[in-house]
């Protein structure tokens, strides 16, 4: 291992590299959600994303001695990896619909748009220069990118389940941002946030079922009656 040559960027420490890598994996999964056709695949991708963020929480808890994050990771797994996907999958089974409705844009355009949006997110968070004590700044940039790409997902997808998954992915992005900026947030508040998410999930599920009963489909392309 010789000294690095002139002008070479030093690699990040293995902790920074690992956490940034996990965060980027979350963003990659987010892009995967954009491309997924089957609704079940989207739900599973969301579960995968939640697993990654739980692993990240455990890594941070271990390496930076923030024991509250262990509890948070456990709650995350219970809620986001088990409960939410179960609720959504059961809903899908009841409605007997598997394929996502058509998107407003083609796949390549969507990926380009999402990349542009993620780039904006990276720029913006670099501009604001917020940093946290436990995670590198790159992770915050990725979190902002995840939030923005979830918006793209909610806007471009034309069926209620994809839009709901987009919202849950947005919450994942916000959780990641909170881990960067506010790792010391009292545990009780984080747990309450999670329970709040659970309540939101239940409401979403109920409304999706109501929508399905009324409209006989999961597509939102028919929601055009209320205008003006």
């Amino acid at each position: 291992m010789g000294p690095l040559a002139e002008g070479v960027a030093a690699p990040p420490s293995s902790y920074a590299g690992l956490t940034t890598g996990l965060a980027v994996l979350m963003l990659v999964i987010e892009f995967g959600m954009l491309q997924a056709t089957l609704l079940r695949a989207q739900v599973r991708l969301y579960a995968a994303q939640s697993v990654v963020i739980s692993i990240l929480a455990v890594v941070v808890a271990f390496a930076r001695s923030v024991p509250e994050l262990y509890g948070l990771a456990a709650f995350s797994v219970l809620l986001k990896v088990v409960a939410v996907p179960l609720v959504m999958l059961r809903l899908l089974r009841r409605t007997n619909q598997e394929i996502a409705a058509s998107r407003a844009l083609g796949v390549a355009s969507m990926v380009l748009l999402a990349v542009a949006v993620a780039a904006f997110g990276f720029f913006a968070s670099a501009r604001f220069g917020l940093a946290g004590p436990v995670l590198p700044a790159a992770t915050l940039a990725v979190a902002v990118a995840i939030v923005l790409v979830s918006f793209v997902l909610m806007i471009v997808r034309r069926d209620v389940v994809s839009q709901a998954i987009g919202f849950f992915a947005l919450e994942n992005g916000v959780s990641l941002a909170s881990m960067v900026v506010a790792a010391g947030l009292p545990l009780i508040l984080e747990v309450v946030f999670l329970f709040d998410l659970l309540v939101a999930v239940v409401v979403f599920a109920v409304l999706i079922r109501v929508h399905h009963e009324q409209a006989e489909s999961l597509s939102t392309e028919t929601l055009t009656e209320l205008r003006g």
């Binding site: 947030l185 009292p186 508040l189 109920v206 009656e225």
Partner: protein, 493 residues
């Protein structure tokens, strides 16, 4: 005072629990409980008024200062009147096949909704504030879909998606606010509001700026500010009328309360210019959009919903003027708007019930048919258009005066012009509905001249009285409260 605070936080919840109990109770017990909870909350809020005018009242993580007392009073008033109105409203729903279940869900939802809206201003904690607003979203989304129509499902879905996405951004704002606070107050900072205000100028400016903008966009989704207001007309028009009244009259205001808190923090940390500029932009755009959409509106409840957008825009503009007069106007506006909008929706509900349509073109001859409701509805619309002697005239006058006093001539003039435009839209629709006689075909019997229910008329009378009181001569304790609230917004503590 501690008991008052705790009682405010608990009483509506009790009513909700009571409504949940399976049908051993006689049917009137549930509605009586709700009305009792509403009236009790109103009484408690009135008790709070003199106490909060003197200074903040705190008990654990509950804290009421003058600003929160105003919002609590507005919400409690609307809660009480809506509960009474709902009794009459539900009488008309008896022909539904699932009426027992419908009414039970209705009462549970209404009480939970009011509970969450009362809790939000009580909280001394930004995170708990967010949670309370989130609870209001989920409960009200279910209530919007309660009627079981297709349009209701569409409106509820749009509402919950947009509002939840907005609240996700607001959660980011909360977290950034935590980061700003923790950098000054230490990592054990628990998002309490008062210490954050105390630390004011020491907070890192870029973080506070980011938190404020995120809060305005995020909570502004629930306030109905342009451009994230798109869910508002749908949700407010498709929900059952009592729910619409509380949505328009209280929920928008409580969400604006959250924006006000962040405004306070931002002003303490950054000075007034940046927060006021942001609010002015959003407020002006909302007012402009609402005024334009009010002109050609065909749906009665959508008309009222756009009027809500207009008034929320006025609130934002008033805050953006930054003068003590304007702040006082904003706080008075919250109270008066709750009463007026509640009345307007109550009247609209009766009209819809009597004519069985929301289409303004088909509503004709209101004065002939509804001897009580039609004049009261007319008074409500006049109040909403800021006619004297009603409370909204006084509040908007104060806002414009504050704007002129702080030399914001152009925005003040624009506001007056746009409010006039909105008045045009509202009055055109109303006069057509109430004054133009109904056309009756040859041989058709004219409709009966009868009020559907006295329960639906009484709250409107109370509302008009409240508006007159607020407009002509607000009680001294209330004026003291408003003055104290304006001082708090200025930065005193």
């Amino acid at each position: 005072m501690t008991t008052v605070l705790v009682a405010l936080a608990v009483v509506p919840l009790l009513a909700a629990v009571l409504a949940l109990l399976p049908g051993r109770l006689p049917a009137p017990a549930v509605s009586v409980a709700a009305v009792a909870a509403g009236v009790t909350s109103l009484v408690l809020a009135l008790v709070l008024v003199p106490a909060a005018a003197a200074g903040p009242v705190a008990a654990g993580f509950l804290r009421v200062d003058a600003i929160s007392a105003i919002f609590i009073l507005a919400t409690a008033f609307l809660y009480a009147t809506t509960a009474v109105y709902s009794i009459g409203y539900l009488r008309g729903e008896h022909q539904r096949a699932d009426f027992a279940r419908y009414s039970r869900l209705f009462w549970v939802g209404l009480n939970l909704f009011a509970w969450a809206m009362l809790c939000a201003p009580l909280m001394d904690n930004l995170a708990l504030l967010w949670i309370a607003v989130e609870i209001t979203t989920v409960v009200s989304a279910l209530l919007v879909a309660l009627d079981g129509t297709r349009r209701g499902a569409e409106a509820a879905w749009k509402y919950v998606l947009i509002a939840s996405a907005g609240l996700g951004i607001a959660l980011l704002a909360t977290i950034v606010a935590y980061s700003a606070g923790a950098s000054v107050l230490g990592p054990g900072y628990d998002l309490a509001i008062a210490p954050l205000l105390g630390a004011g100028p020491m907070l890192p400016p870029s973080a506070v700026r980011l938190a404020f903008v995120l809060a305005v966009v995020g909570f502004g989704t629930k306030v109905g500010l342009f451009p994230v207001h798109t869910w508002l007309p749908d949700a407010h028009s498709e929900a059952p009328t009592p729910v619409s009244a509380m949505l328009s009259g209280s929920l928008l205001a409580v969400s604006f309360y959250a924006v006000l808190r962040y405004y306070q923090i931002a002003t303490a940390a950054l000075g007034g210019d940046f927060p006021r500029g942001v609010l002015l932009v959003f407020g002006m755009l909302s007012l402009l959009l609402a005024a334009m959409y009010l002109i050609e509106q065909r749906n009665l409840k959508r008309l009222l919903a756009y009027s809500s957008v207009e008034h929320m825009g006025i609130l934002a503009i008033g805050t953006a003027f930054g003068a003590p007069l304007a702040y006082a106007g904003v706080l008075l506006h919250v109270l008066a708007h709750a009463a007026a909008k509640g009345n307007a929706f109550f009247g609209a509900g009766v009209l819809v019930r009597a004519y069985r349509t929301k289409d303004i073109e088909r509503l004709r001859g209101g004065l002939d048919r509804l001897p009580w409701t039609a004049p009261l509805f007319l008074l409500a619309i006049l109040a909403l258009s800021a006619m004297p002697p009603f409370g909204l005239f006084r509040s908007e006058f104060l806002i414009v005066a504050g704007g002129l006093g702080s030399e914001r001539f152009v925005p003040a003039a624009a506001m007056v012009a746009l409010v006039t435009l909105a008045f045009l839209g509202l009055s055109m629709a109303t006069t057509r509905m109430l004054f133009v006689p109904a056309e009756t075909g040859p041989g058709a019997a004219s409709a009966p001249r009868r009020e559907p229910s006295a329960w639906m008329v009484a709250p409107m009378i109370v509302g008009v009285v409240a508006l007159l009181v607020l407009g002509l001569h607000p009680p001294d304790t209330l004026s003291a409260l408003i003055a104290q609230g304006a001082a708090e917004l200025e930065g005193a503590r």
